[in-house]
């Protein structure tokens, strides 16, 4: 049995008294070393969930428990050590004047000794493949490179949870694959739970479990394959099906006998080979 690391208990949140509820009575759990994806269209409350998880916002109702600690005004500094976040805009989270200064920023805040900082900078930058850019200034990096630095600077404080809040939304396709590869690589090597918040269903495929948000409520919670089986419903709440899933659906409709829901190109190819060799 894995340990619970994040727990939302009947959480409701709104930005102001007069504002509508952004989250309505949300409850879910996230376990150690788990790769979770939270999806939903714009305004479904998914980014709010991220901000609630490390105390950038506090819920009006309900309770959030991170690593057996409720998130309160007093515990946020401890919680921010456990929960690292990468935001959407690569430029607006880069604090340092060079790559290594930026990675150091979070460690400086926590009063880590200089020798230790230098060691961790080397470790984390090589983990994301950016060690040769140690002294580069941010405006000379691509968006994907900046996001990799952002991931490194989060990893440098050894969090237990890594939240990617639409971290690939502003990147080109190459930057996107760069980040996804880096993240999977990092998650395998270190013990951390990965929470990917996205509206791009393609990124969901890698997750063990998907939480689908709609209008502030947890709409569904299941493995990616089961989620994609509900194509019509997903479309109804404004989410696009990944191309391969849509294609296999159409093939099935057109009478090609494939039985499994394919999530990526290889799986679909395999299915087609099987059906080909049967007929």
């Amino acid at each position: 049995m894995r340990n619970k690391i994040v727990e939302f208990r009947n959480v409701s949140f709104r930005y102001g008294e007069e504002q509508p509820w952004v989250l309505k009575n949300c409850s879910f759990e996230i376990y150690e070393n788990e790769a979770i994806a939270i999806i939903g269209h714009n305004g479904s409350g998914k980014s709010t969930i991220a901000k609630l998880m490390n105390g950038l916002l506090f819920p009006q109702e309900g309770e959030i428990i991170i690593n057996n600690r409720p998130v309160t005004q007093d515990s946020i500094w401890e919680i921010r050590k456990d929960v690292g976040m990468v935001f959407q805009n690569p430029d607006n989270q880069f604090v340092g004047t060079t790559v290594q200064d930026d990675v150091a920023f979070g460690m400086e805040n926590r009063g880590i000794e200089r020798d230790e900082m230098v060691r961790r900078i080397n470790d984390t930058l090589s983990a994301v493949g950016m060690q040769e850019y140690r002294l580069t200034e941010p405006h000379k990096l691509s968006g994907g490179q900046k996001q990799r630095v952002a991931i490194a600077s989060v990893l440098a404080i050894f969090p237990q949870v890594l939240i990617l809040d639409e971290a690939t939304a502003m990147l080109d396709p190459r930057g996107r694959t760069e980040i996804m590869k880096t993240v999977t690589n990092v998650q395998e090597k270190r013990n951390l739970s990965l929470i990917t918040i996205t509206h791009d269903l393609q990124e969901v495929v890698e997750a063990e479990r998907v939480i689908v948000m709609n209008a502030g409520e947890v709409w569904d919670e299941a493995a990616p394959r089961d989620i994609f089986a509900k194509k019509a419903e997903l479309r109804k709440i404004g989410l696009d099906i990944p191309f391969v899933a849509a294609l296999s659906d159409e093939l099935w409709k057109a009478g090609v006998p494939i039985n499994n829901e394919a999530l990526n190109h290889e799986e679909l190819l395999e299915e087609l080979w099987i059906s080909h060799s049967i007929t």
Binding site: L56, R80, K81, Q100, E137, P138
Partner: protein, 266 residues
């Protein structure tokens, strides 16, 4: 594009002056500004000139480049020289043109003041030529540290400076992007009467400000998420260490100052 992105006038290098601790450079220049006003004789001026020129040569930056950086100041130097020439009336009359008399004292005075001016600007520009803005920021933070006792926000000031330095290139790239976007919508930045061109800046500045505010908000959130809670209990990655060469420079500077005092009035 890349050229415009160099902040200040820093010239990368590995010279003796480049590698000095920025605090050393700032301190020496600070005191140099004072002792320049003590010189009052040919020899004492020579001491200062030799010191300034020697520092200039040790930077190993092209002299042409340094002098080019001083161009806007040449006008001021010449202007003060002429002013002194006209206003001062000490010593004997040298020439008499159209009722204006030029005195020998005026010539000497004018020369002395211009040299002072030149030395001041040369030496201070050596600081910015050999020190990155971020090094200067670090040095200022360190040197203002005692002011913390009277609750002067030293750390906050330094952080503000370093964040502005980090965002200057970003905002410049953005300005470039916005001006192209507006130009494609028909805004004309280059031609027309001055009034129209000034007006054309408005559609450039408004989006720039809006995005700068948005950036500030997001940056603040990102900093908080990464555990920033003010200067208390923070450690620093960039370290300033006074080395052997810094002590050498201090000793040298004390000798120069002593020489200056000895040669005064000669």
């Amino acid at each position: 594009m890349n050229n415009a992105l160099i902040i200040g006038q820093y010239v990368p290098g590995e010279s003796f002056v480049h590698r000095l601790d920025p605090r050393t450079k700032i301190t020496v220049i600070f005191f140099f500004v004072f002792i320049v006003f003590l010189a009052n004789s040919v020899i004492s001026y020579s001491v200062l000139i030799v010191f300034a020129l020697a520092s200039m040569f040790t930077t190993r930056i092209q002299i042409r480049y340094i002098l080019k950086g001083l161009t806007p100041v040449w006008f001021l130097i010449v202007f003060t020289f002429l002013l002194h020439l006209i206003v001062t009336n000490k010593g004997t009359v040298l020439i008499d043109i159209f009722g204006f008399s030029i005195y020998s004292g005026a010539l000497i005075q004018g020369f002395a003041i211009s040299i002072r001016f030149f030395l001041l600007i040369l030496v201070t520009s050596l600081l910015t030529l050999t020190t990155t803005p971020i090094e200067i920021t670090d040095a200022i933070e360190d040197m203002l540290h005692p002011l913390k006792r009277i609750r002067f926000p030293v750390h906050e000031l330094a952080l503000m400076m370093s964040i502005s330095l980090r965002f200057i290139p970003t905002l410049m790239q953005e300005t470039d992007k916005i001006s192209k976007a507006q130009a494609s919508r028909g805004v004309d930045f280059r031609t027309g009467p001055l009034r129209d061109r000034v007006k054309a800046v408005v559609p450039l500045l408004v989006p720039l400000f809006v995005s700068a505010f948005k950036r500030a908000e997001e940056l603040a959130m990102a900093m908080e998420a990464r555990g920033y809670q003010g200067g208390e209990g923070r450690t620093k990655l960039r370290e300033l260490i006074l080395g052997k060469r810094d002590y050498m420079v201090f000793i040298l500077f004390i000798i120069v100052t002593a020489l200056l005092f000895l040669t005064r009035n000669y």
